[in-house]
Symmetry: C2
Subunit: 190 residues, 2 copies
Amino acid sequence: MPRAGLSPDAVVDAAIAIVDAEGPGALTLAAVAGRAGVATPSLYKHVRNLAELRLLMTVRVMEELTERLGEAALGRSGDDAVRAVMRAYRSYVVEHPGRYASMEQSAEPLGKVDAAGERLLGVILAVLRGYDLEGSALVHAARCLRSSVHGFAVLEAAGGFGLPEDLEASYELLITMVTGGLPHRTARVT
Amino acid sequence: MPRAGLSPDAVVDAAIAIVDAEGPGALTLAAVAGRAGVATPSLYKHVRNLAELRLLMTVRVMEELTERLGEAALGRSGDDAVRAVMRAYRSYVVEHPGRYASMEQSAEPLGKVDAAGERLLGVILAVLRGYDLEGSALVHAARCLRSSVHGFAVLEAAGGFGLPEDLEASYELLITMVTGGLPHRTARVT
DNA sequence: CTATAAAGCTAATAAAGTTAGCCTGAACTG
DNA sequence: CAGTTCAGGCTAACTTTATTAGCTTTATAG
């Protein structure tokens, strides 16, 4: 008697609505079921358990982020692309802090997360193609970019910045720090 | 009949031992009580509840970190000091990943956490005194340093770096990115 | 029109956090 | 040194959450 017409995606929708509205701490199967209009145990027809739901949420966020970053990077290159991607990243987090804060932890070998992470990494690597980076250097640069951006995002989403100084300005400095630290392609004469 | 001779600090000790050994997911009052050699409800004589225990753990970690960073900064200045502090930060996280990963979240107005955070910030600000930074610029720089270091730490502690490239090398790049992005004090002639 | 299987539901269990209230022995008082 | 007090421990009991088992039903395929 499929009345509610649920699906794994719909369950993730409900879960994300909850963390958006009330923060990661409010994520409970009862709450998800309530929002989905279904009894708690019914969720298990669509999701293996809470841990899997969390992973699916992480995948969802990574995908949304990947799309945003991809759009931001379109038609740009070099510092310009890095700037746009970094700003897009933060704007996503500012718009959905609860959602972003929900996706941490794990370490599971679940393929879906890895795959989504790789797509996200792909965008970053693509943006860094415009620099004079090869092999390992590219990976190191990508890690630095990701660390900076993620660190800022986590701290901001958790309300970790106490002082009243403008966060935009701080982030702009972070952006110049990153772009300034990448080896720019110099016009090379053979 | 105070047999176990517990105290808030001892409870935090037990809790930290658990996250060190089994990760943040294993933190449960039953586990803490077990390690402390006491029945679960007895913990409430020393700690208001699980949330407060988490906050106390966060304070503890911040204090340990502050001490490490302070030591690392001693007798150094400028880029040298920043490098030493950043390396000390990461070395702490590498030594105690579970402990570091346990301290996230919250947003509580609990005074103790804020105070510990301010002491930690104090060390960072002190290290940045060696640069040509004043007022807000100092705050922005401190945030960038903190974001980068924290982001790398979180990702590393959570096993978020999948590729086999050397993490040390990535971190050294991050260090040069940060030091390179700070405005160096130029010999100024009046 | 019927058979089946997916999608709900109710009931039940186990673990975790938390509260209430009892009990005792260590420490302080006189 | 005896008596009082109370911090710190315990057991019992409750609530909430995750999870499992098993029943029921309706969309739908044939």
